[in-house]
Symmetry: C2
Subunit: 471 residues, 2 copies
Amino acid sequence: MVQLAQGRTLVNAAVPVISRAYASASKAAPSKEHHVLSLPDSAFPKGFQVAAAHAGVKKKEGALDLGVLVSTADTPCNAAACFTRNVFKAAPVVVSTKVLEEGNGRVRGFVVNSGCANAVTGSKGMEDAWAMSKKVTDGLAGSSGSPSTGTLVMSTGVIGQHLPIDAITSKIPSLLSSLSGSASSWMSLAKAFMTTDTFPKLRAREFKLGSQTVRIAGIDKGAGMIHPNMGPPHATLLGVVATDASISPKALQSALTYAVDRSFNSITVDGDMSTNDTILCLANGAATSSSGERAQEITEEGNPEEFAVFKEELRSFAEELAQLVVRDGEGATKFVTVRVENGPSYEVSRAVASSVATSSLVKTALYGQDANWGRILCAVGYTNLPAGTISPTSVSVSFIPPKGSPNPTPLQLLTNGEPEPNIDEARGSEILAEEDLEILIDLGVKGGEGAKYWTCDFSHEYVSINADYRS
Amino acid sequence: MVQLAQGRTLVNAAVPVISRAYASASKAAPSKEHHVLSLPDSAFPKGFQVAAAHAGVKKKEGALDLGVLVSTADTPCNAAACFTRNVFKAAPVVVSTKVLEEGNGRVRGFVVNSGCANAVTGSKGMEDAWAMSKKVTDGLAGSSGSPSTGTLVMSTGVIGQHLPIDAITSKIPSLLSSLSGSASSWMSLAKAFMTTDTFPKLRAREFKLGSQTVRIAGIDKGAGMIHPNMGPPHATLLGVVATDASISPKALQSALTYAVDRSFNSITVDGDMSTNDTILCLANGAATSSSGERAQEITEEGNPEEFAVFKEELRSFAEELAQLVVRDGEGATKFVTVRVENGPSYEVSRAVASSVATSSLVKTALYGQDANWGRILCAVGYTNLPAGTISPTSVSVSFIPPKGSPNPTPLQLLTNGEPEPNIDEARGSEILAEEDLEILIDLGVKGGEGAKYWTCDFSHEYVSINADYRS
């Protein structure tokens, strides 16, 4: 090969380099304050106590970075979990998997730190994760609950750094002496989960299960490195749901796996799946009926109707928690639901929704408030599916304004693969100016299944945050 | 379900919303002027003529937006192509596929427009693509070449808008009357391909093939919506390679498919695969030996040695063209090679390289010049591969400075799954301050196969460009 070296000279004014000039001003993410709710003490499930403290993992003086949740019910606390499928599972993920196994699905509670992920930290990282877990278990030995059960552990923050383990373990005794079931303690625990989050994510509900009223409370965190794919006893998304319902470990895992696929596994901020993603679900059976009696443990086979109610409540609650992560997505100015209808299967619909929700071009167009359906369609078309799965002439796309919008009329963009003539761009801009909106993609298989994915836009602030933050 | 409506009140000063404050200043993409080469007339393959004009697809007066290339050799011009695998194939992709089929791998040349992709344009779009193609074929009917062969067609630009087809077809006769083989005409043709590109992408080489010296010239375009996945007769990446070597259509397709997998299919700017991606390769056999004779057509079976030389030259040339697209990636300040070594197979190594090259968190860290190997490892770990394919304790990661760097020492970050103790962050910053750099990931399978992927960083300017540009 002869490179034409004699020709490789720089060119001057004869071939001017075109420069791009764009006017897009940087838009700041709106305040997320209104997503913080104040809840009464009575909202929280019975038989759980929590505490949080500053142990020094976060540099900022007084910033909460260590928390515990303990079941104080004198019945076993059943547990289920979904962990990241990343090959590089962080030490706390490995240790929590083991704690669940050893306890046959029963645990005392969990300990969590933020500021350091204890991921890719080798054997020292494993020792540290065990040290956190055991310090809590040992500190609870004299109290109520079964001493043979262990403590789950979660960490979130920078990858590849060791925990200040002595600072953490020396703080645990005072943490255990300050346990409380109050709403303010729950809020402190939620803050101890935070990294790049701009607000603490805490929710609680109650619902009827059989003859009982049960409560469910949940905390999660996450704003970046969000594209979870969690499996059972396999998200830096961390989340925990605690309920005073009585449900067997196996039924709890079954309900959690179902709920996580349709909530935490259906959100994306940046398409990056973390080494630490973990969702825990704890059920201690401490709820009582009006006569003061506890319920029998629900199983999938023994109580199909109650199980179905619990599963749907858990899915719905998990969806609300998962959406909070997207709302707080790094630099996000919009919350967008990608709804796919009439796909040949749930899996195909979900794959298409994920492809659109993850597309950088779709997400920057949303930030620019540009009704750019071409990019949406393009992302539908490159979904990794076997040839022939999607028929291009059956696909329709529309924008749906949020509930409560003054003008509820959707905007049809594409019908059966053909663009609508004379698309009302002004109406498109109206809908896209909303903080919440929905992209509806109909794959045209009548009677087929749908799926939803939740995403945010891709902003200047996202780049600023991630060019600076060592995560 | 009873939503705790009474609790859903906004919280005031008691739970302050934490605001993120980041200092990252917006860095402008450096000038790409030095990637424009001046080439002599003699650099270009014999028997091809080209022309370009302003037909009015682009609004800017005088902006080149229409071009043709015609083989004027009195032998058939063999052709091969790789087209996008997107379900929504643009009309020109469908038409070019048909032209290739009808001509049994022989064509007259191609016509290309920029400014409008003629994608998702229904039956009118198909008519328009055929009209462009046929106008060129008809205009050439009286000239040399077989009249039974057709003209390939390519379009790039906005999706979902119709071409100004009358303006295009009425410009074609004058275009055909201005055909020329000069270097300046080739440069004009390269400019007619451009959309958000900041510089025209034109290269040429010569090499020995058997007893002959043959020439190869190539043009490509693309800066965004770049994550091609093209298959034979199946990227808005457009590219064309023309050579005066003599090679059969089948051998040409075989060599092109191999070359495209290792070049255009191994680059990413934003992870979005276009509806229009097309790479064409034309070979007209017009090269002559020193005694003035043309060569026999090379086939894969009949001339294995010469075929091997041609295939490798085509791969290497395609790699150079593909890299230009990444260098001109929207908002790019860096050109990054992700090299994976010692994987269990080429496919696994390529999947890992693609995962790292596409990660938003890796790309923003590169923009921020942060030696954030945690994000690299995280992206290795979430590569979509069967469980057990990658052994976490066998993975090593290092940064390699570019060739010609004053300090050629690489920086080892991770060895066999364990972070290096005392990583030299200053050295990391030095390497990351370079415009070119390489991320080396060793998967630890001794004697295994490797793969390369080329990517750029993710900048504020990327967001500006794509929040504003209707692509």
